[in-house]
Structure formats: C-alpha cells, structure tokens
C-alpha cells in the first residue's frame, strides 16, 4: 500500500517535471530549473557518500569544476564532439576521486572530510591561477552546445536543454536507486551504522567507501559538464567550497539517505536564495538562518517530515 503511494508520488513528480516548462511563465525560472536539475545530479552523488555511507565529503563543487573544465578544454583543444566530452568528464573526475579517496578512506573518522575540503581548495586555486590552461578568473567562453550546428533540435532553446538535463537527472536518480537497493547499497548503509562490524563480517569497507566516493564524484563531474555546456561559460567562482556546502545542505534539507531527498534539496538550494532577494543585503544572513533552523528542526529533511506527516494521516506510527 505504502509502496503504491510512493510510486504514485514519483509518477506525479515525473509528470510535473515534464509539464514544468509549459507552466512557467517567467523565462528566468526555467533557467533556474535547469540549474536545479544539474544540482539534482550532483546532490544524488553527494547523497551516496554523505547520506548512505555516512562520510561527509566537502568537494562536490570542486568535482563539478573538474567535470566542467574537462569537457570544455577537451572540446576546445582536441575538437572532440560534445557528447563524447560530456561522457569523458566523469571519467576524468573519477581519476581525481581515486587519488584523493584512496589515502583518506583507508582510515575512519574525520580525515576524509578534512582531505576533501583541502582538495576543493586546491582545485579552486589551480583553476584560478593556472592561466595557460584555465584562463583564471576570466574563465572559458564559447563552450559549444550539444548537437552541433545542423542538429534537428534547437539546443539554444532553453526548453530543449531543460528536457535534456531532465532526462539525465532521471537516469542518474534511477541509477542511484538501483545502487542503493543492491548489495553494494546495503553495505554502504551498513558502513554508516557500524563500520567495525562491516569489517568483522568479512567485508573490505574501504573498497565500498571508495566506490561510493568515486561514484559520487562522477555524478558531480557529469553535473559540471552539463552545466558548462548549458551556460557556455565557466569560471572558478561557482566551484568553490561554499558551493560544496550547498551540495551538503541539499542532501540534509531534502532528506539524507533517501532517493527523493536530493531532488527536493537541489531545488531548495537553487530557488531559496532567489526568493530571499527581497531582503536585499540581509539575504545571506536570512539564508543562513533558514538553513540552521531547518537542520535543527528537521534533521531528517523534508522527506523525513513528509513521511512523518503521512504516517500521522494514515494513523500509523512512523
């Protein structure tokens, strides 16, 4: 019964996302929705390592940056087709994730968070200062849209790009759900609960942690690549630690360790700052306040609160 209700909700959400461009009258909101869908992909990745495995990674935006610059530079320097560079971007990101994850995930505890945070800082500094490669703060312009010049789809149209990002977000959300339901996902959830016991029942926890981290980085790399081709312009500014914190918050606010959580959370972190514009210079303070209150009063996120309410309506204990 409950499963049917869930399926119905997912179906409704799907219909809503498909109809969204028709419902939106302000073009700017369509733009924000596309950004939010990019963030859905990145947040689904973040959720695998943070929500399911219980290891907070503070480098998701940095990996988005690696993905974005990979696809842009491979396209510009080697003249590779856009679809290929978008597929290669997560692979490049994966290499960096193995190099950071391997040493920091062999041990338990907070080393991992510190190492990832430091790595995000390094990524940012390199993007800012390696002018020959990244053109520094000025960024890279003229990143081509997918489809080339004589495509039958008009990729310059935001509507087209919306459906492109939506399909990928659905695909990646589905993949995350498959991973979570598999033996691998069960092991990740077990690591979150009791890592010592995972070792004692014969499972090499570090391999699974590394898998979760590299997969999460590939999600970020893909999200970054799609973002780069959407904006046609990238600079280091949005690949800093502050944006990695947004990815963490998207997972917490949406509902850590749930599949729906990152979807809701991603839209939240993209749209909330926009709605707070009325507060002008108090905007960031207000944003911070909302986040702090949300974390205190809804530690299980919007999905958790909704689940409790639903259980109350049905008269069942949650």
């Amino acid at each position: 019964m409950r499963w049917n209700g869930k399926t119905l909700l997912w179906a409704l959400a799907l219909v809503g996302f498909i109809l969204l461009p028709q419902l939106i009258t302000v073009k700017y909101y369509l733009h924000l929705s596309i950004l939010a869908l990019c963030w859905v992909i990145a947040a689904q990745g973040q959720n695998l390592i943070q929500g399911y495995t219980g290891y907070v990674s503070i480098v998701q935006a940095g990996f988005m940056g690696i993905g974005a610059y990979s696809t842009a530079l491979m396209g510009l320097h080697y003249d590779l087709p856009v679809w290929l560079t978008i597929l290669l971007a997560p692979c490049v990101t994966a290499v960096f994730a193995v190099l950071t994850g391997y040493p920091s995930l062999r041990v338990k505890g907070h080393y991992f968070a510190v190492v990832t945070l430091a790595f995000n800082l390094v990524i940012f500094i390199v993007l800012m200062n390696w002018h020959d490669l990244t053109q520094g703060e000025a960024g890279i312009t003229g990143i081509p849209k997918p489809g080339g010049k004589d495509s039958w789809l008009n990729w310059r149209d935001r509507g087209t790009y919306y459906y492109f990002v939506l399909s990928i977000a659905i695909l990646m959300t589905g993949l995350a759900a498959l991973i979570v339901r598999s033996r691998i996902g069960q092991t990740l959830i077990a690591i979150r609960q009791n890592e010592d016991l995972v070792g004692a029942i014969g499972i090499a926890a570090w391999k699974y942690k590394l898998f979760a981290f590299v997969t999460s980085a590939m999600y970020a790399g893909l999200a970054g690549a799609i973002y780069a081709h959407y904006q046609s312009f990238i600079n280091p500014e949005i690949f800093g630690v502050a944006q990695s914190l947004d990815a963490i918050l998207a997972v917490i606010i949406g509902g850590s360790g749930t599949i729906a959580g990152p979807v809701i959370g991603a839209f939240f972190v993209v749209f909330l700052p926009e709605y707070l514009r009325f507060a002008d210079s108090f905007r960031l303070i207000l944003y911070g306040l909302v986040l702090v209150l949300a974390t205190i009063f809804m530690p299980r996120g919007i999905v958790g609160v909704a689940g409790d309410l639903w259980a109350k309506v049905k008269g069942k204990p949650s």
């Binding site: 033996r183 691998i184 016991l197 070792g199």
Partner: protein, 255 residues
C-alpha cells in the same frame, strides 16, 4: 596428528612498553570448544583482537587450518573461515535481523557485488541458498520469531544471540566468542551454552573468552588460562579447577 583449526605460536603483542601478550602458544582442534579465561588485564581481549586481525601481532604466528593468517586484514580472515563477536553489542540497528544476517552472508557469495546493481551476471540459485541458510541460522539461534524486526528494537539478549548468528552467516571454520554471556540472565546463559554446543555439532570449532566460570566449566572441552599476558595453565575443566596456579591467580577458593 590432525591439523588444528587454529594454531597460535609464540604470539606476542606489546603496546609501547606494555607486554599485553607474551609467548602465547595454544591450538583449537577441529570440533573443539576451547575456553580462554583469565583475570581482567590478563590479555584475553588483546589475544582475540590479534587473532581476528584488528591489529597485527608484534611477533609470533597464527595459522588457520594450516595457513598463515597473521599478516592478513580482518576481512580476509573472515573469508578464510575465522569469525568473531564483540564484547559489547555490535549490530546494524536500522536493519532487520534478516538483513543483518544477509549482509553476513555476503562474504560467501561468488557473484560480483556489481552484478546486484543491474541484476545481470549472477550465479543461479545463490540467492535461494542464502535465504535457506539464513532460515537455518535463525532456527538454530532461536531468532526466527524476530527475523523481520529491526535489530535496534529487539532485546539486548536477542542482540547478543544475533551477534553469534551473524558470525555463522560467513560459513566459518571457527568462531571467536568474546564474552558472549555478558549481560545474560541465568536461563539465557543456559540457552547460550546449548547454542555453543549446537554450533560445535555443526562442525564449527569455538573459542570462548568468558568471565562467567560456570558457563566455561560446563561447555568447554579444554581451557587455557592467562595471567599477565602469559599462559599459566591448560587442560580440561576438571584439571583447571584443581590447578594450584589458577586458584591463586584467578579462581580463589575452588568453585
């Protein structure tokens, strides 16, 4: 002489200047229940952790069914047939009893973990075999009626039995039970000693580390006594009960 399931040779473990275990030699024979006892601080826990692979021994050898394991990580020792429980309840509170046991069976699976993501390349019949083994273990450990309950909600005693059940899921050759009777009341201890014998009857050797003397005396075939990191006695329960050194160091007046 048949090969011992577990052979410990001149095991030493020091932490800085503290010699927690010194030149410890003993073995567990196939189908044997061996007790490891000693006062607090005598090196029992250090021995268990060195055997299980939580840390490497300072020197000495550990052989499992004739093969050296002292350099292997913990999870590889489990795959080779050595499983352990912990002194305190070690559980996955959010899982059901069945889910925790299913995870315990993972080490015995032949199909690659990735095959479970897309459902391709799996070994046929493997899932059914796992479920049937889980049912057997639930039956043996008396947890069948709470099989679908969340591990965090079952009683402390049931959690302790679940820890033992989880070690059995990996199809071990020997299980190390680290103070299995801690926190159990008398009738639960009775169930525990029956379970330990039942495990032995399935062909699995058992090494019990325990404070509860009545249980040890009742269930063990042989007993090794530690004091200050060294073995001071070894023998049948009857011999240990009457051993002068053991009485002085640990038992006090005869029990």
């Amino acid at each position: 002489m048949t090969t011992a399931i577990l052979q410990v040779e001149k095991l030493c473990k020091s932490f800085g200047g503290v010699h927690a275990v010194r030149d410890l030699t003993f073995h567990v024979a196939p189908g044997e229940i061996l007790g490891l006892i000693g006062p607090n601080g005598s090196g029992k826990s250090t021995t268990v952790n060195a055997l299980a692979g939580v840390f490497p021994p300072t020197s000495g050898e550990i052989l499992l069914a004739g093969g050296h394991i002292q350099t292997l990580p913990e999870y590889e020792r489990v795959a080779m047939g050595l499983s352990r429980t912990f002194q305190t309840a070690s559980i996955f509170p959010e899982f059901t009893v069945r889910e925790q046991l299913r995870l315990g069976c993972n080490v015995t699976l032949k199909s690659h973990p990735l095959s479970s993501v897309f459902g391709i390349g799996r070994h046929p019949g493997e899932d059914e075999a796992v479920e049937s083994r889980i049912n057997d273990i639930l039956e043996l450990t008396g947890l069948a009626e709470v099989a679908e309950d969340k591990v965090g909600t079952i009683t402390a005693a049931q959690q302790r039995f679940l820890m033992i059940a989880t070690t059995l899921a990996s199809e071990p050759k020997i299980v190390l039970l680290d103070e299995p009777a801690a926190g159990l009341v008398s009738h639960e201890r009775k169930t525990l000693s029956n379970l330990i014998r039942a495990i032995r009857d399935t062909g699995v050797s058992v090494l019990v580390i325990e404070h509860h003397m009545a249980l040890i005396m009742e269930v063990c075939d042989r007993i090794v006594v530690l004091n200050f990191g060294s073995k001071i006695a070894e023998g049948t329960p009857e011999e240990i009960r009457n051993d002068k050194a053991v009485i002085d160091a640990y038992l006090g007046e005869a029990v």
